[in-house]
Amino acid sequence: MRRIAIAVLFALLAVATVGVWAPPSPVRAQAPPDIYINVTGGGSKKLNIAIPEFTVVTGSDSAGLAKMIPTVAGNDLTLSGSFSVVAGADRVPANNPDALRQVWSNFAAAGAHAGAHGLLTLRADRVEAEVRLYDLTSPTFPPIASRKFDAAVTPLSPGFDWRRRLAHKIADDIVLQFTGDRGVADTKISYVVGPSGAKEIVVADYDGVGTSPVTRNGSINLSPVWSPDARSIAFTSFMNGYPDLFRLFPFEPRRGVQTLASFHGINSSPSWSPDGQSLALTLSKDGNPEIYVLTVQSGALQRLTRHASIDTEPTWSPTGQQIAFVSDRAGAPKIFVMERDGSNVRQVTTSGFHTQPRWSPKGDTIVYTQREGVHNLWVITPGGTNPRPLTSGQGDNQGASWAPDGRHLVFQSNRSGRWQVYMMLLDGMETTQITTGAGDATSPSWSPRLP
């Protein structure tokens, strides 16, 4: 009897306890929200940000960093597509909260939502920048975050400018703080320059500044593609008389060019696997162009397609599980997708003439070139749904390459009368010309974020 009573007691307690601890539906029945938001439809708005001249705390600013960094970073923020930079000549004196408040007050009056103020510590060999972010939409201008960056002072060269790199890093972090996604300013692009006689590959900052040549063989060099670690570039070159596949190391000037594939026939259209271990490429060694996977370390070769028609221009999905490619097996060239081992080939695009597929780093989109009199860039889901144009009515637009955020694209266009490289957002907006050289600029490739 007593046992039963005790058991009942415990059962009751257990029920009560479970009642207390039963996990509620994910978020309900806890505390009330901190805030409520109403969201209506409507166009996207940019964040207006003010970046006044940086303040030098120690050292002398002979290089003009206090002005240069905000300028470069401000341009990065504009190119990010998420910000408008509010112009203003206000300077912020060091250690003067009242003056800072006044500056923010002026910028807020000019429409700024946020402010970024940098404090520079300049030494002979190092530069340290502390960047403080403020919310200018709240009456007291509360601080949001404070971040420190530093850079080693090294000799400037056309290919490397530590001052710009520092500014790019600052901008990328500001983008992260305000959007949740890191920016892509600390990246490079490579592209091909020159008339049809000789085409050399160059590397520049993603905004087109600081061009430096990385091939100088006087031959024809094509289709540069950055490796996932951003240390090397695969490309096709006729430097030995045939279209062979090579790899160069743009940041290691003394390191020579490495031959990746020199089979009989075409060796072209390289695409790195996401892990950087392999390359998908097109070889015609067996008669007609087929897609292979080359393991870089061992040189092992695996053939993926077996079809009498042309199969070319492979591009890996970010998971490494699938490869999209171009084939004319169904008539005019279209985009197809297959598994990593070549199985389960399915057609992605229909009715049209489609080439140059590039799989988005986010995985949900493939950009390609559609021939429609002129060439235009389109995107489609890997499943073949929702095709839509990104460019139209502006000359030829082709050869797109994704930024590592999957939100920006570079491509070549002749809308100005000559081939130049442009940048745009994934929705086709905010197109910006980023090369201005005298020769043609083609085949852009956007690097991953630099290590």
Partner: protein, 283 residues
């Protein structure tokens, strides 16, 4: 499970009757506590509303808000449930979702956007709203040339400023808002970071665009971790249609990650209640 009675109780006879009564009373009490706690938490003591209409933003208490003229529906949140029940049947016809919002022509016009920003005047000059009277309660942080007089004068005239005037009225200091204009009464909130709310709303809006259906307006609750990642998402008030609820949840999930929480905000999580509103003006 084997159970030992402690030495003190080992010998004596357990007072079973009273123990029973006591246990039952305890359980009842517990249930009452839990119940009332959940009731209390549902009541949401004085929530702060953030309304981000396309062009302007207002932040204030539910009473004080006075929405922009665009919406003629009743104040969206609290005890609203019965209000939208009748509507629920009508809007079943999907075609309402008008996608053409992203029309092609705009792409052309944007071919070379105004990157030469200098001296950009902020868009949407000051839609001034009556709620500005709340500003009086705000500390005016700066003695800057921001007299409240001009603002007040403009409010009286109740017409928007001439579009030609490039710089908007100097509203920044005390009235700074996500668009540089409009009223803000953030001091009632635990979370005085208007920029953050704005950015979160923008990210969700971008995901939700084109999926707005009148009468199908679920409210969701979600939490953002310090690093900006989503912690949990749930439906707070169903739209009555499971599909639209799912669309709303998906919009939140796809909108992440959000910006990291401001360093000065010390809670481990920001909890946000969000009401999807169909804007009949199309925004």
């Amino acid at each position: 499970m084997h159970f030992h009675i402690g030495p003190a109780l080992g010998r004596i006879r357990l007072p079973l009757g009273p123990a029973f009564v006591s246990a039952i009373l305890h359980v009842v009490l517990l249930i009452i506590v839990i119940f009332s706690a959940s009731m209390w938490s549902d009541k949401r003591t004085k929530p702060v509303y953030v309304v981000l209409a396309p062009a302007t933003a207002a932040i204030g208490s539910p009473k004080g808000v006075d929405m922009p003229p665009r919406v003629e529906e009743p104040a969206p949140r609290p005890p609203a449930p019965p209000a939208d029940l009748p509507q629920r049947e009508a809007p079943r016809d999907l075609p309402v979702r008008d996608l053409p919002a992203r029309d092609l022509p705009s792409r052309d016009s944007v071919a070379l956007p105004d990157r030469t920003l200098p001296a950009r005047a902020p868009t949407a000059p000051a839609r001034v709203r009556p709620a500005e009277k709340e500003l009086a309660s705000l500390p005016n942080p700066s003695p800057s040339p921001v007299p409240t007089a001009p603002t007040a004068a403009r409010r009286d005239s109740s017409t928007p400023p001439a579009p030609a005037a490039p710089p908007p009225p100097p509203l920044g200091a005390a009235t700074g808002s996500p668009t540089g204009a409009g009223p803000l009464t953030l001091n009632v909130s635990d979370f005085p970071y208007a920029y953050y709310i704005r950015q979160v709303a923008e990210k969700i809006r971008a995901q939700w665009n084109g999926k707005a259906i009148p009468g199908q307006q679920p409210a969701v609750i979600f939490e953002i971790r310090r690093d900006g990642r989503l912690n949990a998402v749930g439906i707070d008030k169903s739209s009555g249609n499971a599909y639209y609820d799912q669309v709303a949840l998906r919009a939140i999930n796809d909108a992440g990650p959000f910006p990291p929480l401001p360093e000065e905000f010390k809670k481990p999580m920001l909890r946000i209640g969000l009401q999807f509103v169909f804007d009949p003006t199309g925004g």
